[in-house]
């Protein structure tokens, strides 16, 4: 194999492209979980986003309507979850699982008429600069707007949680809803908002898959990425920057193992396919082994229902 510097750039660019849906969904779920709500419906919200984006694109022909429509669809389906867990105080785990099953089912039902239709081309930015700088050009230029947004999101999320007042409120609600409530914060409202935000990001992640990454609709096309996004949130100990690292390692190993197969590296293929899962967990566990920091960043009331007596 010729180790060409542009070849390396191309590989890094494909790794980044494959990490986008994981980053979007994880960062959305991170905010939800930081407010103390465990929503296991990530996969369901993603698949709803995927079909909504694709269907709207096909029907209206407008990519903008499709992208925002997918986010709105994520918001709508997460509203069901929010209503059940926050207003009716149902169990988070059971409701989240139900949301995933519901999402997969309803997306298949809506999607029946959209199978076998090719997607539209999604515009990319800075394509003219693609051949200007060796190595960096394929990484920096020629991607969709969602791609750039995804790579900015962990930093925005980190800043939001650490430096803004609303971020502080979200963390307070997640750590001790009783104290937050005594301070006059409307816990239920904050949690509703965080759940809906998580839904919007998962919807966007799904739309990225069905409109940009592999522009088509087929059933179950999220292929378990929602579960991986959920795992990333936990293994990164609720730290958005570590989510970025985890998503890059996961995407990277998936792609590098294909390259190793194509080169003809004599390692059992089954081991190579399992590699992304194993290494991502090991790396995230190792970089997050400071127990004091884990205690600080883990939302203490995660998954516990909060019932305020009026």
């Amino acid at each position: 194999m010729i180790v060409d510097i542009n070849f390396v750039g191309l590989i890094i660019a494909s790794i980044m492209a494959s990490a986008v849906p994981l980053i979007l969904a994880s960062c959305g779920e991170l905010i939800t979980e930081r407010s103390g709500v465990l929503n296991l419906g990530v996969e369901g919200m993603m698949i709803i986003g995927a079909i909504s984006g694709f269907a709207l694109m096909t029907v209206t022909g407008s990519l903008i309507i499709a992208v925002f429509g997918a986010m709105l669809a994520g918001v709508l389906i997460s509203t069901i979850f929010a209503f059940l867990t926050q207003t009716l105080i149902t169990n988070h785990v059971a409701t989240g699982l139900a949301l995933t099953i519901f999402g997969i089912g309803i997306s298949a039902m809506i999607g029946k008429n959209f199978v076998g239709i090719p997607g539209k081309e999604f515009p990319v930015l800075f394509e003219g600069l693609k051949d200007t700088i060796p190595l960096l050009s394929p990484i920096l230029f020629g991607h969709s707007i969602v791609f750039y947004f995804a790579f900015a999101l962990p930093f925005i999320t980190s800043y939001f949680l650490k430096k803004t007042k609303i971020g502080l409120i979200v963390r307070a609600v997640g750590d001790s809803p009783e104290s937050a409530s005594n301070q006059g914060i409307n816990v239920r409202f904050v949690r509703y908002a965080c759940i809906l935000y998580g839904g919007a990001m998962c919807g966007l992640a799904g739309a990225y898959l069905s409109m940009i990454y592999t522009p088509q609709w087929i059933e179950n096309m999220t292929g378990g990425r929602g579960w991986i996004a959920l795992a990333l949130v936990v293994f990164s100990t609720w730290n958005p920057i570590k989510i970025l690292i985890g998503a890059m390692i996961f995407g990277g190993l998936t792609i590098i193992q294909f390259h190793m197969q194509a080169i003809g590296v004599r390692i059992p293929v089954q081991f190579l396919t399992a590699l992304p899962y194993i290494v991502t967990i090991i790396v995230l566990v190792v970089i997050s082994r400071d127990s004091r920091k884990i205690r600080l960043s883990t939302p203490s009331s995660l998954g516990k229902s909060f019932h305020k007596d009026n």
């Binding site: 849906p21 298949a108 898959l209 592999t214 088509q216 087929i218 194509a262 003809g264």
Partner: protein, 356 residues
């Protein structure tokens, strides 16, 4: 006048007979059991196209999708057999044992199992398609169209069906271009568009300029379109997903077989058999050839297609050697169906090992 009476009598008898047969035919109910969702635009989708053909022929059909290849399959089959279905098609390899088990309990219901080999009871038939014939055509095209002499192949799982495809493809490509290399990447999935696209991208980045696939989604041809290389459609005509990249597609065409078999039940002529149909019987269909292919190649492909159909050419004609150089098929001989059904070794020219 006399003649006219006899004629009209005979013709009304014929008409009556036809009507009776038609009426009986309408009563036959067929059921289909699918491994995946009908929305996969691949394997299950094509079976469902076949089911619709049965429906169009005037029969009632039902289907159950997403049935796991486990005890669940038995439960579904028993329920279908109990609810008045006369013929049940089980469309995945893993339904082999459940099909035979339930068939024993319902001797009056006909069972048709796709891609399997067990027919333990007189009411179980098996059927499959010779997809490898289609891959001989794809290999011929790939070997001719490649400029880099590197051909990428995204494979799903190491089973005889897939190995046979890789071998048939490579043998045909080598025949027209001895310098080619087939690089294989195992995706370990039948369909996951994201993963398939990533596998194709890895092959393209490593210099492959023609991509073949034995996975089901359209993600690979779309990736090929983006990267400006050639590809082939799988299971259904994928041309509209990648008009520049797709040179042709190999389509699975189950409809005629399904209609035949359901009609046979209606006529009372159904009997157990093992069917393995290819291009000649129309179970494997080659879609339209892309105009980017030079006209002499198009002519060659059409001739090859006709020869495969008539049996003049066999995809596995000796001499064929395995990777270590051992003779698999002697000169002038062709591989028999037993060998094809259990094929688990690569032929010479394929790179890498089969995952164990």
């Amino acid at each position: 006048m006399h003649k006219f009476l006899i004629r009209s009598f005979v013709s009304s008898l014929v008409l009556l007979f036809t009507l009776t047969v038609a009426a009986v035919a309408k009563d036959v109910k067929a059921a289909f059991v699918y491994i995946g969702p009908t929305g996969d635009h691949g394997w299950t989708y094509q079976h469902d196209v076949g089911r619709k053909a049965v429906e169009d022929a005037g029969f009632k059909t039902t289907y159950v999708e997403g049935v796991p290849e486990s005890a669940d399959a038995e439960r579904v089959l028993r329920q279908l057999a109990n609810s008045g279905h006369d013929i049940i098609f089980t469309t995945s390899f893993g339904y082999m044992n459940p099909t035979n088990k339930v068939a024993k309990e319902f001797p009056n219901v006909k069972f048709e199992h796709a891609t399997g080999y067990k027919r333990e009871h007189p009411n179980v038939a098996t059927y499959a398609a010779r997809f490898y014939e289609g891959r001989t055509i794809l290999g011929t095209i790939a070997g001719t169209m490649t400029k880099s002499n590197v051909i990428g192949y995204v494979a799903s799982f190491p089973i005889p069906e897939v190995i046979r495809g890789i071998n048939s493809f490579t043998l045909a490509a080598q025949k027209v271009n001895p310098n080619i290399k087939t690089k294989i990447v195992w995706a370990f999935t039948w369909y996951d568009p994201g993963k398939e696209a990533e596998a194709a991208k890895a092959l393209i980045d490593q210099g492959a300029d023609v991509i073949a696939q034995h996975t089901d989604s359209t993600a690979i041809v779309q990736m090929a379109e983006k990267a400006g290389v050639y590809a082939f459609g799988q299971a259904s005509d994928m041309d509209k997903f990648a008009p520049k990249a797709v040179l042709t597609s190999v389509e699975n065409n189950w409809g005629p077989y399904y209609v035949d078999r359901v009609k046979a039940v209606a006529n009372g002529t159904w009997s157990q058999k093992d069917t393995w149909h290819g291009i000649g019987d129309g179970m494997v269909v080659i879609s339209g050839l892309d105009s980017q292919m030079p006209s002499d190649l198009q002519a060659k492909v059409k001739k090859l297609q006709a020869d495969l159909a008539s049996g003049k050419v066999h995809s596995f004609t000796g001499p064929i050697y395995d990777q270590k150089g051992n003779l698999m098929v002697a000169e002038g001989k062709t591989a028999d169906d037993g060998m094809l059904a259990g094929m688990m070794t690569y032929v010479k020219g394929v790179e890498g090992d089969i995952p164990k």
